[in-house]
C-alpha cells in the first residue's frame, strides 16, 4: 500500500514534486531519438502565431512608458544625456523578459495547456500511452522546446521594438536629442546584459512550457477541469516567473559587475 503523508501543505509539496519530476523527465526525454521535428516546427509556428502580434503591441507602449518615465526623471536630476542608456538597460534587462514571459505564459502556455487538457479528457493521452508511445516524448518535449525557442526569439523582438519605441517617444515627445540618445546606449549597458536577458527568456519559456504541460496532463475531472487547469497554469506560471526573475536578477547583479564600477 502506498502511504501518503498528510500534514498541512503536503498536497502542495506533492504537486511541486510531480511538477519537478515532469521537468526532469522532459529534459531526459529531449535527447531520446527520434526527435519529433515536425511536431516541434508546428508547435513553434503555432506559438509564434498566437504571441507575436500581442507582444509587438505590448512592447511599444511598454518601451514608451519607460522612456517617458526615465526622460522626465533624468531631466529632474539633470542627466538627460543618460536617458538612452537607462532606458536601454531597463528594457533589455527587465522589461523585455517580463513582457515575453507574460505573453508566453498567457498566450502560448494557456493554448498548450488547453490542448493537452482536452486531449487528456478525450482519452487521447491514455490511448497514446497504450499504443506504446510516450506522450512526454511525443507531445510535451516539442511543446516545451518550442516555447523556449519562441521565447528567446520574442525576447529579441521585444528588445528591439521596445528600444525603438523608447527612442521615438524620447525624441519626438520629449524633445530629446537623437544623437545623445544613441550615443549613450553603450554608456551603461554592456553585452552580458543581453545574455542574461536571453537566458531569462529561455528559462521562462521552459517554466511556462512545463507548468502548462503539467496542468494540462492532470486536469481535475471533466471539461470544467480543463478550464480550471488553464487558469491555474497561467497564474502559477506568472508567480513562478516573477520569482525566478527576482532570483536571476539578484544573482546577475552580484556576479557581473556594473559597467564603469
Amino acid at each position: 500500500m502506498t502511504t501518503q503523508a498528510s500534514f498541512p501543505g503536503a498536497g502542495a509539496l506533492r504537486e511541486t514534486g510531480k511538477l519537478c519530476q515532469l521537468g526532469i523527465d522532459v529534459v531526459r526525454t529531449t535527447f531520446r531519438r527520434p526527435f519529433q521535428l515536425r511536431e516541434f516546427i508546428q508547435q513553434s509556428w503555432f506559438i509564434v502565431s498566437v504571441t507575436v502580434l500581442p507582444t509587438a503591441l505590448v512592447s511599444i507602449p511598454f518601451g514608451a512608458v519607460i522612456a517617458l518615465q526615465l526622460g522626465s526623471l533624468t531631466r529632474q536630476i539633470g542627466a538627460q544625456s543618460f536617458t538612452g542608456a537607462a532606458s536601454v538597460l531597463a528594457i533589455i534587462q527587465q522589461a523585455s523578459p517580463i513582457v515575453t514571459a507574460l505573453l508566453i505564459a498567457g498566450a502560448g502556455g494557456s493554448a498548450i495547456c488547453a490542448d493537452l487538457g482536452s486531449r487528456k479528457i478525450r482519452e487521447e493521452i491514455d490511448a497514446m500511452e497504450v499504443l506504446g508511445v510516450s506522450p512526454i516524448h511525443r507531445l510535451v518535449v516539442p511543446r516545451v522546446l518550442a516555447a523556449m525557442l519562441v521565447s528567446v526569439l520574442l525576447n529579441g523582438m521585444v528588445s528591439v521594438v521596445g528600444v525603438m519605441g523608447g527612442y521615438f517617444f524620447n525624441v519626438v515627445m520629449q524633445d530629446g536629442t537623437p544623437g545623445a540618445y544613441l550615443a549613450s546606449f553603450s554608456a551603461l549597458a554592456q553585452l552580458p546584459d543581453l545574455w542574461i536577458s536571453e537566458l531569462k527568456a529561455l528559462i521562462f519559456g521552459f517554466i511556462a512550457g512545463i507548468v502548462a504541460a503539467y496542468r494540462g496532463l492532470n486536469p481535475a475531472g471533466g471539461p470544467k477541469g480543463v478550464g480550471d487547469a488553464v487558469n491555474q497554469a497561467v497564474v502559477i506560471t506568472f508567480l513562478l516567473l516573477f520569482f525566478v526573475n527576482f532570483v536571476l536578477t539578484t544573482i546577475y547583479l552580484q556576479v557581473v559587475p556594473a559597467k564603469g564600477s
Binding site: E123, D126, A127, M128, G132
Partner: protein, 355 residues
C-alpha cells in the same frame, strides 16, 4: 497464440474509496472473456489497470512473467506493444484524419514503407467497414464510426491481447451484433486473448468463452461462461434479467428496507421492470464466419473445462455436458443427466478463482 494474463489479489482505491479489492482471475490464453458489472463498479478502472494506466495498490498482474504493477516504465511501454485497446469513445487523435490515426502505431513502431502501411491500414479499415472514410476527421463522424476506427487502430499491430471497453455503448443492436461477430472472427484469425468489459447481456450470453462479474467492490465470480449463465447467485440473476428486484439498486447498493418495499410492490402486481422470462441458461456461442479457420480457443477451452468439470456447480455441469456432441461425451467419458463426478462440496459461486 495470445498470452495469458494472471491477476492476483488486485486492489484499487482512489483516496479512501475502494473501487474493488482482492480480484483474482486468469484470462486463459487465446480465449474471449467478458467482464460484466453494473455501472460504476470499476469495470473501466479494471481495464485501465490491466494496461498499466492506473496503478493498483496491491496485488499482481502478470503477463509473460512481468508484473505490470511493479515493473519499470520502460518495460511497461514494451509490454504495451502487445496490447490493442478499444476505448469507450474510440480515443482517436482529434488532429489527425482516420487514415493517419490508424497508421499511427505502424509509423511509430515499425519500419514499414508507406506502401505497406497503406496496405495494412486499408485492410483493417475494410475489416471494420470504414472504406472511403480515410480523409474524415474524428470530429466529423458518428460515435459508432469512431468506435470502429478505434478498433481498427487497436488491431494494426496484430496485438496478442485485445481489451474492449464497452464496445456496444452508443451502437445500435445490429452494429453491436456485427462488432461481436468481428471480435469472434478476429479471435479465430489471430488467436488473441480478448477481454470485453460491458453491461450488454446479449454480448455476455453469446460472445465469451469465460464470464466474470464485478459487484460491490469485489469479483462475484469468474469462470467458464456456463457457470455464470446458469448461476443462482441473486446478483447474477438480477443482472442478467434486468430486474429491479434484487441486491443491485439505483445507487450501487440497496438496503433491506428498499428491498422489502420493492418485493411488496412486486407481490401486489407491480411490474419489476423486466420481461417475465428468465434469460439465464446456456445459448450457443457465436461462431466464426464460415470460411474462416476454426477457433482453436474452443478446443483448448473444452479440454480445460472438462478437466475441472467436477468442481463446477451442478447446473453448469449439465449445461456443458448437454452442449457436447455425442462423440465428445464419449471421449470425455460423461453422459447427459449424470454428473461427471459425485458433486463434491463445490467452491462456487463465491470463489472467483483460477480455473
Amino acid at each position: 497464440m495470445g498470452v495469458e494474463v494472471v491477476v492476483e489479489g488486485l486492489t484499487k482505491s482512489f483516496g479512501k474509496q475502494t473501487i474493488w479489492q482482492d480480484v483474482t482471475l486468469t484470462l486463459p490464453p487465446g480465449e474471449v472473456s467478458v467482464m460484466l458489472g453494473p455501472s460504476g463498479t470499476g469495470k473501466s478502472v479494471f481495464l485501465k489497470s490491466l494496461v498499466g494506466l492506473l496503478k493498483p495498490e496491491q496485488g499482481k498482474i502478470v503477463i509473460n512473467g512481468t508484473d505490470l504493477v511493479r515493473c519499470s516504465e520502460h518495460r511497461l511501454y514494451e509490454i504495451r506493444k502487445m496490447f490493442g485497446v478499444l476505448f469507450q469513445d474510440g480515443a482517436l487523435f482529434g488532429s489527425m484524419d482516420l487514415y493517419d490515426n490508424i497508421a499511427f502505431p505502424l509509423r511509430e513502431h515499425t519500419r514499414k514503407t508507406e506502401a505497406e502501411v497503406r496496405r495494412i491500414v486499408l485492410e483493417k479499415m475494410e475489416m471494420v467497414g470504414l472504406v472511403g472514410a480515410e480523409k474524415k476527421l474524428p470530429g466529423e463522424i458518428s460515435g459508432g464510426m469512431r468506435k470502429r476506427a478505434g478498433l481498427a487502430r487497436a488491431l494494426v499491430l496484430d496485438p496478442e491481447i485485445i481489451l474492449c471497453d464497452e464496445p456496444d455503448s452508443g451502437l445500435d443492436p445490429v452494429r453491436t451484433a456485427y462488432l461481436s461477430q468481428l471480435l469472434i472472427d478476429l479471435n479465430a484469425q489471430i488467436d488473441a486473448t480478448i477481454l470485453i468489459v460491458t453491461h450488454n447481456i446479449n454480448i455476455a450470453r453469446t460472445v465469451p468463452d469465460n464470464l466474470g462479474m464485478l459487484f460491490r467492490r469485489e469479483l462475484v465470480m469468474f469462470g467458464p461462461r456456463e457457470v455464470l449463465l446458469t448461476s443462482d447467485e441473486p446478483v447474477v440473476e438480477q443482472f442478467l434479467n434486468g430486474r429491479r428486484l434484487g441486491p443491485i439498486g439505483m445507487s450501487e447498493e440497496k438496503d433491506t428496507a428498499t428491498m422489502a418495499a420493492e418485493q411488496a410492490h412486486a407481490d401486489a402486481g407491480h411490474s419489476d421492470g423486466s420481461t417475465s422470462e428468465d434469460v439465464r441458461g446456456i445459448i450457443p456461442q457465436i461462431e466464426p464466419t464460415p470460411g474462416l479457420p476454426f477457433r482453436d480457443a474452443v478446443r483448448r477451452r473444452k479440454d480445460r473445462v472438462m478437466s475441472i468439470i467436477h468442481q463446477l456447480p451442478h447446473q453448469a455441469q449439465q449445461g456443458i455436458i448437454e452442449s457436447l456432441s455425442a462423440e465428445e461425451q464419449v471421449r470425455y467419458g460423461v453422459h447427459a443427466g449424470v454428473p461427471a463426478v459425485a458433486p463434491s462440496p463445490s467452491p462456487w459461486p463465491r470463489q472467483g478463482g483460477v480455473l
